[in-house]
């Protein structure tokens, strides 16, 4: 019964208030209680009852919010951010056996190829430290001095759904809390009229794995990600039913509150006051969520920055703008999914045509988000993460056209804001881009680092489940990437 725990935590004020009533005799009447409660500041009553109330951190945080731009499907680092001229020279040759001995790959049985594939994209150096970036990401190239680029990310799983889950939850096992759930569980939310963890989606289909990617696992559903939808109600069941007026809706909420208060006095069950607050927040959400989605007050200049042509149209660009608006409102964890990066070389997923297309969809908005957060003074408090569940192999895959297979030993992600080092490249891969030669960075290290910046110790943020102290970083060691900070 987690509620007992919450009750215990919130006993403070409530307890004294209740004590007061009981000494006066419960017969003092619901009216008195109701007016007293109503007279209280909303923040106070919320702080007591709301499981999403802000909570103290383990140590001083560097950042408050996270925006995770999830490139679902596994973007090819070799075409974008990990420049490998030697790989191009060896194009078409078999990969030396020493690289692949004992390794396992997806689709091992059928389409796996061992011939190296050099990238055809031209690369140039950008920024103060001359970071190599290809022509696929011209806008990202312009903000390179804001970024920590990590070229040596490593994960454990090579199939989409489990690997996505691994990136989100630190395990491939379905039914564990995702990072957003962990973070809102650990920190609460600073937003009183929107969920603490919000998910936005774009691209031709939903990400593989679906709702478990933002699930709360064994944590209460309070902490699960709430998808904001681009069509219909932004939040499920947000709109008042069509046959009900706003006035009638308010009447329902008021009458429910009054009757619930009477029951609270009658039974003394504090859970009822939590419910009263939940109804108030629900009512506020009914106006705050549409207000969030309404971008008509954003300037043309801002829309142009993101490359939003039609503000009414659902797109990754619009979702990036919404992410900034969510951070402004104090939403703790925002995750954007954009599909489909699974460029195996099939008829709709090759490196020649489809990769450049999807890069155009995400490049400008991602860079714009970082710039926009900077100019609004929000970047220092917000960690922006860009990356997918894994990368792609230095070996080519030839189906109908050219692509690459899933690769888990070294792939590239970038981080901005939230105390990450500006203009810094973390880790280098070998000349073929197969594995790390310095600073190997496991998904666990990424998780530990993000938590660390938020003021949370990855070893202490845990819950007991089936005898295990379940953590985002699991049971194996995780290391905060200190060099990439500050």
């Amino acid at each position: 019964m987690r509620e007992f725990e919450h009750n215990k935590l919130k006993i403070g004020n409530w307890h004294t208030r209740r004590h007061f009533f009981s000494r006066c005799g419960i017969g003092v009447g619901s009216l008195a209680l109701s007016s007293l409660l109503a007279g209280e500041s909303r923040a106070e009553s919320l702080g007591e009852e709301n499981p999403l109330a802000p909570k103290p951190t383990h140590f001083l945080p560097k950042a408050k919010n996270v925006i995770f731009l999830f490139m679902a499907g596994g973007p090819s680092q070799l075409e974008m951010l990990d420049y490998k001229p030697r790989l191009a020279e060896l194009n078409g040759q078999p990969i030396p056996e020493s690289y692949i001995a004992g390794k396992r790959f997806a689709f091992m049985d059928s389409s796996h190829r061992v011939n190296l594939l050099g990238s055809k994209r031209p690369f140039q150096q950008y920024g103060n430290n001359g970071t190599w970036i290809s022509d696929l990401l011209p806008h990202t190239a312009q903000i390179v001095d804001e970024l920590t680029i990590v070229k040596t990310c490593k994960t454990d799983l090579f199939n989409h759904a489990p690997a996505k889950l691994f990136m989100n939850a630190g395990t491939g096992q379905f039914g564990r809390p995702s990072m957003g759930a962990w973070v809102t569980y650990g920190l609460g939310s600073e937003c009183e009229d929107l969920p603490g963890f919000v998910v936005l989606q774009s691209g031709p289909r939903g990400p593989r794995g679906g709702g478990v990617l933002w699930g709360s696992g064994m944590l209460p559903t309070t902490y699960q990600g709430v998808p904001l939808r681009n069509q219909g109600d932004p939040i499920l069941n947000l709109s008042t039913p069509s046959q009900v007026t706003t006035h009638e809706q308010r009447q329902v909420i008021d009458a429910v509150r009054e009757l619930n208060l009477k029951r609270l006095v009658e039974t003394g069950d504090e859970e009822i006051s939590t419910r009263i607050n939940a109804y108030e927040m629900a009512f506020r959400m009914q106006s705050s969520a549409p207000e969030l989605m309404d971008t008509s007050a954003e300037s043309q200049n801002t829309l142009d920055l993101y490359g939003i042509r039609d503000p009414g149209e659902s797109s990754f660009a619009r979702n990036c703008l919404l992410a900034r608006r969510l951070v402004e409102r104090g939403v703790r964890f925002i995750q954007l999914y954009h599909t489909n990066w699974d460029h195996h070389g099939g008829p709709t997923e090759n490196l020649e045509k489809h990769l450049p297309e999807i890069c155009r969809e995400i490049d400008q908005p991602s860079a714009a988000l970082v710039m926009d957060l900077r100019r609004h003074g929000l970047l220092d408090d917000t960690i922006v993460v860009w990356g997918g569940e894994f990368g792609r192999t230095p070996m080519g895959e030839v189906r109908e056209s050219t692509g690459r297979n899933h690769h888990i030993d070294a792939f590239t992600m970038w981080f901005a804001g939230g105390g990450f080092r500006r203009g810094y490249v973390h880790g280098e891969t070998d000349e073929l881009g197969f594995g790390p030669v310095s600073h190997p960075t496991h998904v666990r290290d990424i998780h530990a680092t993000i938590l660390h910046q938020l003021g949370l110790d990855h070893k202490r943020l845990s819950v007991r489940f089936q005898g295990l102290d379940v953590r985002l970083t699991g049971v194996d060691e995780a290391h905060v990437m200190h060099e990439a900070l500050g």
Partner: protein
């Protein structure tokens, strides 16, 4: 004979300590010791510590073990590989053997000479546990260890591994000086009395009837049932209550309500999970559970049929269906996967689920290493694994109860043979017809018929011949028609029958090895099926023990765990918390029972009553402890704010499915048909698009739109939002306790979800016919007060109906 129990005055200290701890508790919120969510446990270590802090005698199991296991065993425990300084503190022998540091670890009676005490009390870098573990002992915990050593430093076997002993039932008198007779009340009230607390009075009639109806059947009482009960209670309250309990236990809805309790543990859902999440058919298993519970199948048999029904001699269809329990694992259909990896994953899940559900042990921990806290080795884990590593996973066609599938199939074969014979006998007529066919006529025939005609006769299949024959020659023969009809009927029965997923033992066993760190690509030594040596020995029928032997071992009278675990898990439904609060961990990291003797008494009684769950339910709901009011009392709030002592009942928000059921029932829409394929009530648009593969959700029409929540089709990847938002489990792993969250999204669901809007307009019509008071009673069971009526009277009827369905009381079992 009156018997004095040595009871710990723990609540008083617990509560005062809790106040002191409050600021720390806030910190602790984000560390391990918080209870959250399904199956997540509340490690009330501080509470256990409190209990002892002033008790004269320190008990190893109660006071010391929780401290050692949570803080020391990870490095000084059972797990050899993780062991530091060559020291183990999990056994007397280990502590006596000392460490590689030489200095004696534990000197009985002399804490100052014991390195254990020096190190935990150290103020420098020597402190144990070391800083970098993030663990530390409170002053109180240090004090407990000191006193334990001073009192002799004796170890005890962990309580749950000792068989339950028949405890003396305390003698207690009630406030009128009358002896308390119900055994549960005697245990509960003895402990309350030791705190100078009295139980609460019995709840009023309507509250009690609604409570017991919801608890036993998941449905609120109808107006007629309430009226009947009130009239009967006016004459003889006790008789009326007992009559109500019997009638509820005999209701078929009992099986639905408690079936869902079991389905949570079975991780039941209607899809394959992972990313593809295709639908599957396994609802016959769900119906099996409902039927078995309604028939009060003894729990030991219930266990054996689910774990090994296929291995029983002359296994019936029903016993095979029961083995669906362990087919509720996910199946990964993603491209490019290594199938063996996911088969192994499902076996891991079966081992962990079996351990959690029946043994209350966290055996899953040993997948990667020896258990750090409980005496189970990794090798023993893989011995358990071996029982589940030897199955094929077939799909079973399920025929009607009185029909044998085999007979049906052979009859069908016979019917086709008869048809074919008839065709043989009338070939001349047929050939005459075929030879006269014109091209134009052929073109008008079905594609399949045209294809048949294009082949020479000897190339045609019997199926094709039947089709061609039926076009004209057979059509005018009533004999042929009769044969055809019979064949089609049988075909339909055989091929249209529902299927369900079951287990079947392989003839050739797979070999099982230990996997290093649980990684299936790293096999180590080979193992044979076996059970953990800390528990009772396994008896096997054959040479190699199989699942049937395992199932019998689990429900053996020698097993100290199963009966305790199950009675505890039933108890928690009635009181919101188990006697062992960590209902899925009876191991050394779990919380010791709040009423250990009651737990043992219940476990032994359960077995004496032939494992009858209905007897257990009857026993609990007829106790005063169950029937008392849930109203919070000032003295209880002060002394036992979290109601560990059960001086009152507990208001509990209803489970997700029951919230739907109550609304359906109050609004008069409920369709109470039992069992059958899952249904598709309306859900908000766009929900199914959240998964990787967009699944269809064709809204059920007619009665199926209004079935109970447990019949709603559950896709694991895109669960029905109105169930999900009220904490219905996801079916990814076993759920032995649901969380009860209380959120704005729940409010939005009840206010705005189209299903609830529909329920509200049905309730509105009821109000129009029978008035607001009756509708209030349908929702809450009780008559509204004048104040309440006044509030409702100020609203229009539509609004009033919506208000009633949104009341906290409507959603709550009081």
């Amino acid at each position: 004979m009156p018997r004095r129990l040595t009871l710990r005055p723990y609540v008083q200290r617990g509560s005062s300590k809790r106040l002191r701890l409050l600021p720390r508790c806030l910190q602790i919120t984000i560390s391990a010791c918080i209870l959250l969510g399904c199956g997540v446990q509340l490690a009330v270590a501080q509470q256990t510590g409190d209990e002892a802090s002033s008790a004269a005698d320190v008990s190893f199991n109660r006071d010391v073990l929780p401290i050692l296991s949570a803080n020391c065993y990870a490095c000084h425990g059972f797990d050899e590989e993780a062991r530091q300084a060559d020291l183990r503190l999990d056994s007397a022998a280990g502590a006596a053997a000392g460490s590689d540091l030489g200095e004696p670890i534990l000197v009985a009676g002399d804490p100052d000479a014991s390195l254990l005490i020096k190190r935990v009390e150290a103020t420098d870098d020597d402190i144990m546990p070391p800083m970098e573990t993030g663990k530390s002992l409170s002053k109180e915990q240090q004090e407990i260890l000191r006193r334990w050593v001073a009192q002799g430093g004796k170890y005890e076997k962990h309580w749950s591994f000792e068989p339950p002993q028949p405890p003396p039932v305390p003698e207690v008198v009630d406030i009128h000086g009358q002896p308390v007779t119900h055994p549960i009340d005697r245990f509960i009230q003895a402990k309350l009395k030791s705190q100078e607390l009295a139980p609460s009075p019995i709840a009023n009639d309507t509250t009690l009837l609604r409570r017991v109806s919801l608890d036993l059947t998941g449905l609120p009482p109808t107006l007629a049932e309430i009226d009947h009960y009130l009239a009967a209670a006016a004459i003889d309250r006790e008789a009326a209550y007992r009559e109500a309990v019997e009638s509820l236990l005999n209701s078929p809805h009992y099986g639905e309500r408690w079936g869902r309790w079991w389905l949570d543990q079975a991780r039941y859902a209607d899809s394959n999970g992972y990313s593809i999440d295709a639908p599957r058919q396994i609802w016959k298993f769900r119906d099996w559970v409902i039927d078995a519970l309604n028939a009060d199948m003894p729990f030991d048999q219930f266990t054996i049929e689910q774990l090994a029904g296929d291995l029983l001699p002359q296994a019936t269809q029903s016993q095979r269906v029961a083995t669906g329990f362990h087919r509720n694992t996910q199946i990964n259909q993603e491209g490019g996967i290594d199938k063996e990896q996911f088969r192994i994953d499902s076996v891991f899940d079966r081992v962990a689920t079996t351990g959690t559900v029946w043994l209350g042990l966290t055996v899953g921990c040993c997948q990667c290493h020896d258990h750090k806290f409980d005496p189970i080795q990794q090798r023993e884990y893989y011995q358990l694994f071996a029982f589940f590593n030897n199955q094929d996973e077939p799909t079973l066609k399920v025929y009607g109860d009185s029909v044998s599938g085999e007979e049906l199939r052979s009859e069908l074969k016979g019917a086709y043979a008869a048809l074919d014979q008839y065709i043989q006998d009338h070939l001349a007529e047929y050939e005459a017809w075929e030879s006269k066919l014109t091209d134009a006529e052929v073109k008008k025939l079905a594609d399949s018929a045209q294809k048949g005609l294009s082949m020479t006769r000897d190339k045609r299949s019997s199926e094709q011949m039947r089709e061609l024959f039926a076009i004209e020659v057979g059509k005018i023969s009533s004999d042929f028609q009769t044969l055809l009809q019979r064949a089609e009927e049988l075909d339909n029965q055989v091929n249209g029958a529902a299927t369900t997923l079951v287990m079947a033992e392989r003839a050739q066993p797979r070999s099982t090895t230990v996997f290093i760190k649980g990684d299936f690509t790293r096999p180590a030594e080979e193992v044979q099926p076996g059970t953990p040596s800390v528990l009772h020995p396994l008896q096997a029928d054959g040479e190699l023990p199989n699942r049937l032997d395992l199932a019998r071992w689990i429900v053996s009278a020698d097993n100290p765990l199963t009966a305790r675990v199950i009675v505890n898990r039933v108890w928690q439904v009635y009181f919101g918390r188990g006697i062992v609060e960590t209902e899925n961990d009876f191991g050394s990291l779990g919380v010791p029972p709040s009423h250990p003797q009651l737990l043992d008494w219940l476990a032994l009684d359960f077995q004496e009553q032939q494992w009858s769950l209905k007897s257990l339910h009857r026993l609990i709901v007829t106790s005063h402890t169950y029937r008392q009011s849930s109203q919070v009392r000032e003295d209880l709030r002060r002394i036992d704010p979290n109601n560990y002592l059960l001086g009152r009942q507990q208001r509990l928000r209803l489970d997700a499915e029951l919230i739907r059921d109550v609304a359906l029932s109050a609004s008069g829409l409920l369709e109470s048909q039992l069992g059958g394929p899952p249904v598709f009530p309306p859900i908000p648009d766009g929900v199914m698009g959240q998964g990787q593969v967009k699944r269809a959700w064709k809204v059920s029409v007619g009665a199926d739109r209004y079935r109970r929540g447990l019949y709603t089709f559950v896709y694991r990847a895109t669960p029905p939002p109105s169930l999900n938002v009220f904490d219905a489990p996801d079916g990814f792993s076993t759920c032995t306790r649901r969380s009860r969250s209380n959120t704005p999204l729940q409010a939005l669901t009840l206010l705005n979800d189209s299903a609830f809007v529909e329920f509200a307009s049905a309730l509105q019509q009821r109000i129009e016919h029978e008035g607001i008071e009756a509708a209030f009673r349908r929702c809450t069971g009780r008559v509204p007060s004048d104040d309440e009526l006044q509030i409702l009277a100020g609203l229009d009827i539509k609004t009033a109906a919506r208000v009633l369905l949104n009341l906290d009381e409507t959603l709550t079992r009081e």
